[in-house]
C-alpha cells in the first residue's frame, strides 16, 4: 500500500520505522512520530466519524488538542478507551481504533437520517420533545438518546493500567514549550530557580515547529531543540512532554496529567500509564499559545474543511498533504503561510482573502511564487458529502453583507483561517478577569489574581520578537525574586515576517434562497440557526444560550467555537462582545481519564484498612469481617454452613452459659495525663469525676455543646494524674480532637495532655459466668476474686511474663473483664485465652453477638448515640450531674429538649418474664 498523500521527504517523522495499525478494521501503515490523524490523512482517509446530533460525516478539523471531530475509540493491549482525539494519539505498532457515534458503520450510518430530519431537531429539541409524557423518559427516550448519541463506549472490564499521583513543588511552572515557554524557562533556570516546563505534545517547540522564522541565526526549530537539550541537562529543571497542565486551582496549585505510556503498545510492567501531578508553584507562567479560529460558512463541517494551521502542521511536522487541490480561505496573513507550504511542495493552492487589498511581506512572497490569490472573496458553501469536492465561492462587499455571483471552484480541501484566539483557559481558571482585546477580536488575560503571568500568543502577542524579549525578561525577573540571582541573558536576534491587519470578519452570509447549515460548534452540531432560535425564544445570558443550544459544551469545550458564538450573539443583540462576556472556563482543559483522577486508590485499596494485631487469628478461624469505619472486625466466626443469625445466636448464648472472648482492640483509647486531668474529665463528662479513686473505672457520657450525646465509654484512673479513657470505635478520632479543642482553645489554663493509645494496646473482652475462673487461670498470681477485683475495678497483672491491664467492666450484664496487653503481645494473649478457656467451653464472638448481648442488657451504643439524641432519649439522664457544669449542659434546658413528647428508649421484656 502506498501513502498517496505523504510527500517524499521532510517532516519530523522517522521514515526508517514503519508502523502498522488498523482503523475501522482496515490495515494501514504510518511512521514513527505520526499521530493517528496524520497517518490516516497520509493514507487519504478523511472520513473518521459521524456528528453528534445529525450524524453528518466528520473528518479532521485540527491537528491537536482543539480537534472537535476526530474522536475515536482506541484499542490497546486488550483494553479499550473512548474519547481519544486521533490528532493527539501517537501511533504505535498494532494500534487499533474505530469511529464512534455511528452504527452500523461510518460509511453507512442509520442515524444520518437525523440529517434529513434536521428541521425537527433545532436547539432545545430534546428539552421540548422528550419531556412528555414524563414516564417515557427512563424507559424509552433516555435509552434511545444514549444509544444514538455518545462519543464511544467505556470499558466494563476492570482497568488493568496503573495510574499514579505525585505531589511536586517548584519555583516556576511553565505551561507550554513554545517560544515564550522556552525563553522564560531558560532565563529562570539560569537564575537557579526550580523550574518545571510542561508540554502537552510529544515534541517541544510549539509554533516554532511550523513557523518560518530564524532565531540567533538558526531555524526556530533548531533553536528550540538547543534550548531543550540545555534545559534537560540542568539539575534544577524538569522538562516534561506529553504532559497537559489542565487545571489551575487555589493557592497556585495546578494539576498536570502526564501520559507516560499512551504512545507505547503496552505500558511497561510496574510503570504508570498516566501520572497526575499536583504542582504547587511559587510562580506560574502560562505560555499556552493560541488556537486558530474558523470562519463560518455553509456546510463548513464537511470532511476536508479544516484549520489552515492544521494543514500546515500536517505538512511540516508529518510530511502529509491534506489535499492536492487546496483552497485557502482566510481573513488574515496566516492562510498565506499554509498556501506557501503547499506551493513549495508542488501543490497549487488558491487563496480566497476576505480583505479587499491586503499588503504585507508574506503576501508579496505568495504573489512572487505565483499563487492564485482572489481578494474580497469568500467561500459560501462547501460541496460534497463525505469529502469536499468543490466550493461555492463569491465576491463579498466591503460591508460584508452582500455576496456577488456564486461560482464553483473544484477543490479537495478548504483550509480556513479566521485569525487567532489566545488559549486563556488556565488564566481564567486562576481567577484572572479576562478582557476583550478589539485589536485581535479575542479575550486576553486581565489582572492576575494569583501569581500567574501570561506570555506570548496566549497573551495576545503574535510577534516572535516581542514574545521572546518579554519572556526572557519575565523568566529572569520572577526567578530573581525567588533565588536572588540575576544572570545576564543575551536575547537572540529574530528574523520573522511582518503581518498586516486581519479582517474583522467571521461569518459568511447566506445567499438568497439557501439554507445551508453553518456550524459554530462542530462537536455538538450547533449551527448559527440554533443560536438564532435560542435568542428568539428569549434566552439572553450567554450562559443560558450555551446550555440551551449546547454551544461549547462538548468534550472540546468549544475551543474552536466559543468566540464565533459570542460574535453571533453580540451581532444579533447589537451588543459589543465584551458586554456579552464569555462562559466560564472550567477544568479540565482537555478530557482526563477517570483512572488518572482515581490514581492507586482502587479496589481494596480505595481506602486504607485498619486491622487489630489479632486479625490473622480471626482470619485463620473463619471469621467473617465487617467494616467498622475503616477497621475490619470479626462479625461472627462461621462454623460449617451457619448463617449470620445462627452463628451470632450461638456465640451470644455461649457467653450467657459459659464464657466468650471478643477482640475489642478497636475501641478508642486515650491517655489523659496531668495535674488537672480530674478537673478536665469533670468538665468533659456529664457525671462526677473528681472523686474516682485510683484503680477504679467509671462509665461516662460526653455531650457536644448542643446537648447531643457525642460518645460514651469507661475511663479508669491508673494513677493520681493518669487516666485511661475509652471511646467507641467510631468516635475515637473525633473525641481526641474534641478534647484537644477544649485544652488548647477554651481552657488553656488546664495542665493536661491527651494522646491516642488505641494502637498501643490489644484488648480482649472476656464475658460470661465462667469468665472469672478463666481469668484466674490466666493470672494465677493475681487476686481476681470479687473482693480483689470488684465491679469497675482495675489491676495490673502478669500474663505468663507479659504485663497486662485487667479491667472489670461489662456491657452484657454478665460477669466480664477486659484484658489489655501491648500490641506486639496481642496474639499471644488471645491464644492463651483460647487455650486456657478450652476447659470452660470458650468461644470467640463477633460484633453481631456483641450487639445482641448489649441490647439484651439495655446498654446503648452507636445505633442509639447517632448524633441526634440527648441523654434523656437514651435513658441516660441519671448520669447528668446537677452539681457541676459540663460541656453541653446549658443546651439541655432548651424547650425542645425538655418537651414531654420526646421519643425515648424503653426496655421490653416478655410478659412471662422468661425467654
Amino acid at each position: 500500500m502506498t501513502q498517496s498523500y505523504r510527500i517524499e521527504t521532510g517532516g519530523l517523522i522517522n521514515r526508517n520505522k514503519k508502523i502498522s495499525f488498523k482503523f475501522n478494521g482496515t490495515s494501514y501503515f504510518g511512521y514513527e512520530g505520526d499521530t493517528l490523524a496524520s497517518a490516516l490523512l497520509a493514507n487519504g482517509v478523511h472520513l473518521v466519524g459521524r456528528s453528534f446530533k445529525y450524524h453528518r460525516p466528520r473528518g479532521f478539523f485540527g491537528a491537536g488538542v482543539d480537534e472537535p471531530y476526530a474522536v475515536v475509540q482506541l484499542y490497546r493491549n486488550g483494553e479499550t478507551e473512548p474519547n481519544i482525539k486521533a490528532t493527539e494519539q501517537e501511533l504505535f505498532e498494532g494500534l487499533e481504533a474505530s469511529s464512534v457515534n455511528c452504527w452500523p458503520s461510518v460509511n453507512f450510518d442509520i442515524g444520518a437520517i437525523n440529517n434529513f430530519l434536521k428541521i425537527f431537531l433545532p436547539a432545545g429539541f430534546y428539552y421540548k420533545t422528550f419531556m412528555w409524557p414524563k414516564s417515557f423518559w427512563y424507559k424509552i427516550y433516555e435509552p434511545f438518546i444514549r444509544k444514538a448519541a455518545g462519543l464511544g463506549v467505556a470499558s466494563t472490564k476492570h482497568d488493568k493500567e496503573r495510574y499514579e499521583h505525585k505531589y511536586e513543588y517548584c519555583d516556576l511552572l511553565i505551561a507550554g514549550s513554545g517560544p515564550s515557554g522556552l525563553a522564560s524557562a531558560y532565563s529562570a533556570a539560569k537564575n537557579g530557580a526550580k523550574v518545571i516546563l510542561a508540554e502537552d505534545k510529544p515534541r517541544y517547540g510549539g509554533s516554532l515547529l511550523t513557523s518560518d522564522v530564524n532565531i540567533g541565526n538558526q531555524s526556530g526549530k533548531d533553536w528550540a531543540d538547543g534550548i531543550i537539550s540545555e534545559l534537560k541537562e540542568m539539575p534544577n529543571v524538569t522538562v516534561k512532554n506529553r504532559s497537559q497542565v489542565f487545571g489551575y486551582y487555589d493557592h497556585n496549585m495546578l494539576v498536570m496529567s502526564e501520559k507516560v505510556s499512551d504512545h507505547l503498545p503496552k505500558t511497561k510492567k510496574y510503570h504508570p500509564n498516566k501520572r497526575l501531578w499536583y504542582i504547587r508553584a511559587k510562580e506560574v507562567l502560562i505560555s499556552s499559545g493560541s488556537i486558530e479560529r474558523p470562519i463560518v460558512f455553509g456546510n463548513n463541517d464537511t470532511p476536508g474543511v479544516m484549520l489552515s494551521s492544521a494543514a500546515k502542521e500536517y505538512l511540516k511536522v508529518y510530511g502529509v498533504l491534506v489535499g492536492k487541490k487546496p483552497l485557502v480561505f482566510t481573513n488574515n496573513d496566516s492562510g498565506y503561510e499554509t498556501a506557501i507550504e503547499f506551493k513549495k511542495h508542488g501543490v497549487e493552492p488558491i487563496v480566497l482573502d476576505s480583505r479587499s487589498n491586503p499588503q504585507s511581506e508574506i503576501i508579496d512572497e505568495a504573489k512572487n511564487l505565483g499563487i492564485n490569490i482572489k481578494n474580497s472573496y469568500v467561500v459560501v458553501a462547501a460541496q460534497g458529502y463525505k469529502k469536499v469536492k468543490s466550493a461555492d465561492v463569491a465576491t463579498i462587499s466591503e460591508d460584508k453583507k452582500t455576496l456577488g455571483k456564486i461560482e464553483n471552484i473544484n477543490c479537495d480541501c478548504i483550509c480556513v483561517s479566521g485569525f487567532w484566539t489566545p488559549t486563556i483557559h488556565l488564566v481564567s481558571q486562576s481567577g484572572n478577569k479576562t478582557k476583550f482585546n478589539e485589536e485581535i477580536d479575542a479575550f486576553v488575560p486581565g489582572v492576575s489574581k494569583q501569581n500567574e503571568t501570561t506570555l506570548g500568543a496566549a497573551n495576545g502577542v503574535f510577534t516572535l520578537e516581542e514574545t521572546l524579549k518579554t519572556s526572557f525578561e519575565k523568566g529572569k525577573e520572577l526567578s530573581k525574586k525567588i533565588t536572588e540571582k540575576d544572570n545576564e541573558i543575551s536575547i537572540p536576534n529574530v528574523v520573522e515576517k511582518k503581518y498586516s491587519k486581519h479582517d474583522k470578519f467571521w461569518c459568511v452570509p447566506l445567499p438568497k434562497g439557501k439554507s445551508y447549515k453553518r456550524f459554530l460548534d462542530f462537536q455538538n452540531d450547533v449551527a448559527v440557526s440554533d443560536v438564532e432560535i435560542a435568542l428568539r425564544e428569549g434566552y439572553r445570558s450567554i450562559e443560558h444560550v450555551k446550555r440551551y443550544t449546547t454551544l461549547g459544551m462538548a468534550t472540546d469545550q468549544g475551543k474552536t467555537s466559543n468566540l464565533n458564538g459570542l460574535q453571533l450573539v453580540s451581532e444579533i443583540e447589537n451588543k459589543v462582545v465584551p458586554s456579552v462576556g464569555h462562559t466560564t472556563f472550567r477544568p479540565p482543559y482537555t478530557p482526563i481519564s477517570i483512572g488518572a483522577i482515581v490514581g492507586r486508590e482502587v479496589g481494596k485499596h480505595s481506602k486504607p484498612t485498619r486491622k487489630s494485631p489479632i486479625h490473622n487469628w480471626h482470619e485463620e478461624h473463619n471469621a467473617v469481617f465487617v467494616d467498622a469505619g475503616v477497621w475490619l472486625r470479626p462479625r461472627y466466626y462461621k462454623r460449617g454452613n451457619e448463617t449470620l443469625f445462627e452463628a451470632s445466636k450461638r456465640e451470644a448464648k455461649n457467653v450467657r452459659t459459659n464464657v466468650g472472648v471478643c477482640d475489642v482492640t478497636t475501641l478508642g483509647k486515650i491517655d489523659v495525663k496531668g495535674p488537672d486531668a480530674a478537673e478536665f474529665l469533670n468538665r468533659v463528662y456529664t457525671n462526677a469525676w473528681l472523686k474516682l479513686p485510683v484503680g477504679k473505672a467509671r462509665y461516662g457520657v460526653m455531650l457536644r455543646e448542643d446537648g447531643i450525646v457525642m460518645d460514651d465509654g469507661t475511663t479508669t484512673r491508673i494513677s493520681e494524674n493518669h487516666y485511661h479513657m475509652t471511646t467507641t470505635t467510631a468516635q475515637a478520632a473525633n473525641v481526641l480532637s474534641h478534647l484537644e479543642y477544649y485544652l488548647q482553645l477554651v481552657w488553656p489554663e488546664l495542665n493536661v495532655n491527651v494522646v491516642s493509645t488505641t494502637e498501643q494496646w490489644a484488648g480482649a473482652a472476656i464475658a460470661g459466668p465462667k469468665s472469672r475462673d478463666l481469668l484466674q487461670k490466666l493470672f494465677p498470681k493475681t487476686d481476681v476474686s470479687n473482693e480483689g477485683l470488684p465491679f469497675m475495678g482495675y489491676v495490673e497483672g502478669d500474663l505468663f511474663g507479659v504485663k497486662a491491664r485487667i479491667f472489670r467492666i461489662s456491657f452484657s450484664g454478665e460477669l466480664a473483664y477486659e484484658v489489655n496487653v501491648e500490641s506486639d503481645n496481642g496474639r499471644f494473649m488471645w491464644e492463651k485465652i483460647i487455650e486456657l478457656g478450652e476447659e470452660f467451653q470458650i468461644q470467640p464472638y463477633g460484633t453481631e453477638a456483641l450487639s445482641t448481648l448489649r441490647i439484651e442488657m439495655g446498654h446503648v451504643a452507636g445505633s442509639e448515640l447517632d448524633g441526634r439524641t440527648i441523654p434523656y432519649d437514651n435513658a441516660l439522664e441519671g448520669l447528668l450531674s446537677k452539681k457541676k457544669d459540663f460541656i453541653g449542659k446549658r443546651s439541655l434546658q432548651r424547650a425542645a429538649f425538655v418537651a414531654e413528647d420526646r421519643q425515648r428508649i424503653v426496655g421490653v421484656v416478655p410478659l412471662d418474664k422468661k425467654n
Binding site: Y167, Y169, K194, R280, P613, P748, N753, S823
Partner: protein
Amino acid sequence: MSLISALNNVHAKGQFGDFEGKDDKNLLSISETTNLLILQIVQYKSSNSSLDNMQVDGLNLRDNPSLVSSNDNTRILWNGPRNWILVSQKKDTLNEIEQKFNDNEFAITDISHSKAIIEIEGKEAKEVLKKGCPFNFGELEKNQCLNSTYNGMSVTIDMLDDDPDKFRIFGLRSFGESLYHSITDASLEFGYIAK
C-alpha cells in the same frame, strides 16, 4: 511469649518491581524497624523547667519545628510545641526519663507498640514519598522530621540520612498493612529490595 511486630504479616524479603537489569546498589531498600522504645514527651503549660537542663541519653529537648536531635541510639523528634517523640534502641531510656522528668511538669507516654515503622533508603526514596504525601520534600534535610499524611494515613517521617536518602516512616500500627502496601506499591516503578 512471642512478639509479633506490626508488619510481620506483610513484609516479605526479596526483590520486587522493576529491578531486573539494575544494579542492587541502585535499588531502593525497604525494611521494617522493630523493637524500638517510642515515647511521647509533653511539657505542660505551667512547667517552668528550662529545657537546657533536661537531657535524655545526652540529648536536649529543643522546641524547634522539624528538628531531630540524635545520637547513635536515640533520636528526639519535634512533634509540636513542647511536644516530642523520643525513639531509642535503648529500652532503659524509659527509666532515665521517669527519674528525671517530674510528672507534674511532663507527660511521658509509652507508644512503642502504637507504630508500624518502615525504613526506605535509596536515591528515589523522596520520589516514593512524593507519590502519597503532600509535603514539600525539596525542603527536607537530614535530621529533620515532619508529620503529614500518606494516602490519607497520618505519618511521621524522619530523615535519617542523605547519602543516599534514608527515611523512617512511622504510621499508626493498625494502618500498617495499608501503609506498607502504599509505600511498596509506589516503589515498584524503581524496583526495591525488601530486607
